[in-house]
Symmetry: D3
Subunit: 228 residues, 6 copies
């Protein structure tokens, strides 16, 4: 159940018996051969699946995140971290003021991590607000699936190659992990280093592994939605 | 052709022969009986249609706009204008740096109007950038269609009741235009004044009128995409 | 009665029986052959006239507004919209804290329109504050006068040519409306398009029409000052 | 010659032979029995006098400054320092972009002093810009006049009691300097400490002393306008 | 060699043959029984040691970081992330403008991690700047030492109990890892959860292990200072 | 007693019987032949001495201030004033929330003066907070010592040449006061004007005068710490 499919009377009705909200925050950035919006599509798919089982509302997605290092890859549209923090604060304050007290942020992008600090600042200001943060690819669940199948999860490799993020034929086989300088890279250097944008490893994994991983993340989310 | 359906190589290819981008900026706010995301859905539908005819790229949508006056309607998620200006500046700077020189902003929401001032500031800073701004419901085209059919366009009435924004049965008939105080309303007062959120007029119009209006707006956009 | 002609004891006395304040926000920008401060002078003249009849206090003027597009015309001194919003918020918070509860903003400049969004944000925060916004040249009153005399109101044409804004001999006759590109113009292009800065139409109107228009706007303001 | 009495063509003509500008930055704050706008009126009178002798242009005044400590005195309208810095930066950038290279800031208010830091930041960014800063009441000239007549200059006492700042009968005689706590005072405490708002000393001085002081300051300004 | 022990001529001399700078960014926050400034003291000790071997300059420390979740522990003095990003940007721009081209940021505090995003934004703006980021406790070196001795590194436990961070007798033995809710905690809840502020594990480790860990981190830093 | 030598339990204990805090705010900027951190070292030495006699807590130092005009002297690391205001606000809010109600700011640097305005803004917001501000070199005490010994205090001359700020041999004798343009100088010009960075006068004074001055300032601080 997405907010976009409801009108305000529906949301008012919802708030009479529930106070939870799922907020997907992603990025519009290069994902190698995959969709530029992969970091939105994956957590949104998880949100939709979780919502189907729990009826928890899903807010419209924040489609842009912090990707200054990928700006030399066309199609990457990046926010300053300060901007993203303001966006998220405004959304959460809006929702909180209407009675949403438990918010699960499904973050789809590593560069958004600094956002958690603003959420912590908000937690000190909005008494009674509970915020959960889930970054699916960092979960123990994903780690376990990857280990089980001897796969190495990495940006834009098999890890993110879901049916709904694939927008072109994927290369066969494996990409060698590039040698990455240890300094904080500017966009031009990042592109020189990463070439096609994949951080290395297999380009794709069998569908059943992708499903297994998806299901494991979904289980995490269902658990988190209990806000225990 | 939406960026979300492409990878960065596709966008790089695109930029070799075109430098245009459509950016939809909407709002997540009460629309009476219609979808809370109507202000995104309508310009996005127009963008998709225009893209189909021109192959111009469509960026991911900015799903939130400025709606402080509607915050007492649950589901309204509003940005401060300063936040929205930063979001838009960051996106445009990202795109401009990659070679997008002509950007058509399809604005879906009246409260976002102040944004044009930031765009003007950017126009002074980014030499060679061309920005068009289109607010479909303020167009002569919509005015003409409304006049032709003796309809009065207003927030959340028939004007915005497209098949893809209708999420519930719409009331029959017409709403009397409420008496609106002339001062700048806070959210609570706004809700008292507007009740169901519609600003008055017919709740719906025949599908062929909606199509006529859509087509007229589309024609405007196709014209603007020439950037003449 | 302007604040500049009073000391604080006077204002304290005033607040014992009234809580209204008129705040003029203008611009310092090219007005063709007219004064660069026309957008302050006109609403201030209205404010003074209204104050004479009602004894409502007039705050010092905000002499700068948002005019990035006119910066290639010497003498235009423009604020970023974010700056203007902060200025206005600070003034209103100051006044509200002292007991001014009803504030009429007389805006003199179209580029300041985005400011209304910040006022809406403030209305949500300052309980008991009432803000009116009046942009004289957009009023039905001005429209009616213009229609009655078959005149077309436009930036820097007869519409703003009051005795107190005229600083040089005005051209005779009429300026053809220039062909204006539809995109958001940078300052250089704006100057190329508009030449002498007038947006077209007659350079001046007979004094009695100007007075008629002034009186009509004044009547509007007197009505608004009732804060009904 | 004030910008408000000119149109843009006049300013363009001016810039062909001169690149100086006087910018008055004041405050709207309690001045005891004197005008709430004394901090604008005094430097503006000086600016007008200097302009009469030199033909240097005078920009519209910034009518608001930083006076958080006086907010408990009705009529005080105060900006945050961050706001005032932004206002001044925007004005100076506008003017600099049009060819004003030498700007004399006539500051009328002690609380605005922090502004100089932003001016220093700007001096590093805008190559070729020269900014002078003059705070008349801190000048050696004023000190000398005060010493000569055995007067002690202080906020809102005789020092600022010019014919054009007097808006009410002034008390006879002298106010004892109040005992002032050494800490940074909030607005309520400030008012308790200062009572009528005067910082002590004689309420007025003979007109010829006021003139002597004015002339001395004017001479300073004329010297500074040489930008040597 | 710390900047505080030099004058500007010394630094000018240094810049003739080197362009590296070490910048320590820490936090002032609860560290259980350890010094509130542990997050500064540890990276500073490493910086000093590295400087002794390489003569690379050490800038004054940024003594405050982002710790909103620890604000209920007295002595924690926390910056908003936006503030910390501005501080760091200002320092780096200052240094870069003088010829420092390679900057190693020794971060001492996990809550500062979002700062990397601003550094990435700067890397795109300041051509020729190289920034390294080192968070000692997340290094493979520390992980290896901990594994070798079967110790679990955690906030304020043995991991940070260096001779120079110990300011009180440390408890004997081990603290059970508290059960931590998965949501983003406000400060009050954080204190309830963590009690004495230690995240669990042994309170101290033998000095030789601490030295081993210190040496391993120092080796990392010496390697990074090569900026290869 | 510095916070860095305590853990949070110590601070909690302290707050049971005292609510005072000393906050040193300095600068990292050229001081001629003296330490680049002189503006921190001097107030910190005073803070330590005062703390020894009163047991009042000393917060970690803010090591950076506003010195845009000195940026052409290597080693000067300057914050924008807006940044410094945010840093100080964040620290004071943190401390105030934990029970520190009386804060003495020991400012070490003239360029930080604008900060007082933010402190005044905070005083209006944080009810019950008392803030003292002490700029040692502007004190009557220093003036008296200087007069007594016929010395002229100035930036980086004898005034700041304490044993703990001397990092190199100081020149003998006296520097002529350079001729300083009256405008707000950019960094390059400042360096041309001031050469070695000293503002003129004797390079050093006898140790007993330095001690006399130190003691006089210390006495001031001890008096201020009574918060009478």
């Amino acid at each position: 159940m997405r907010i976009e499919d409801l009108n305000w009377m529906d949301v008012e009705g919802y708030l009479k018996h529930d106070d939870r909200l799922i907020l997907v925050i992603g990025a519009c950035e290069q994902h190698g051969h995959l969709s530029l919006l992969s970091d939105v599509k994956i957590p949104l798919a998880l949100a939709d699946a979780a919502s189907q089982q729990t009826d928890v509302l899903v807010a419209p997605t924040v489609n842009f995140g912090c990707s200054p290092y990928f700006l030399a890859y066309p199609g990457t549209l990046s926010l300053r971290l300060s901007t993203l923090m303001d966006v998220t604060e405004d959304i959460i304050r809006s929702a909180f003021g209407q009675g949403f007290k438990r918010i699960l942020v499904l973050n789809g992008h590593g560069g958004n991590n600094g956002l958690k600090m603003r959420l912590g600042e908000l937690a000190n200001q909005l008494s009674g607000l509970k915020i959960q943060w889930y970054a699916w690819w960092l979960s123990h669940s994903v780690e376990a699936v990857a280990l089980r199948h001897d796969l190495k999860p990495s940006h834009a490799n098999w890890l993110e190659a879901f049916p709904f993020t694939i927008v072109a034929d994927l290369p066969e086989g494996e990409k060698l992990q590039p040698t990455v300088p240890s300094d904080i890279l500017d966009a031009e250097t990042t592109r020189q280093v990463y070439g096609d944008g994949v951080f290395g490893g297999l380009y794709q994994a069998p569908p059943e592994i992708m499903q297994e991983m998806f299901d494991a993340c979904l289980a995490d989310i269902l658990q988190m939605l209990k806000f225990e």
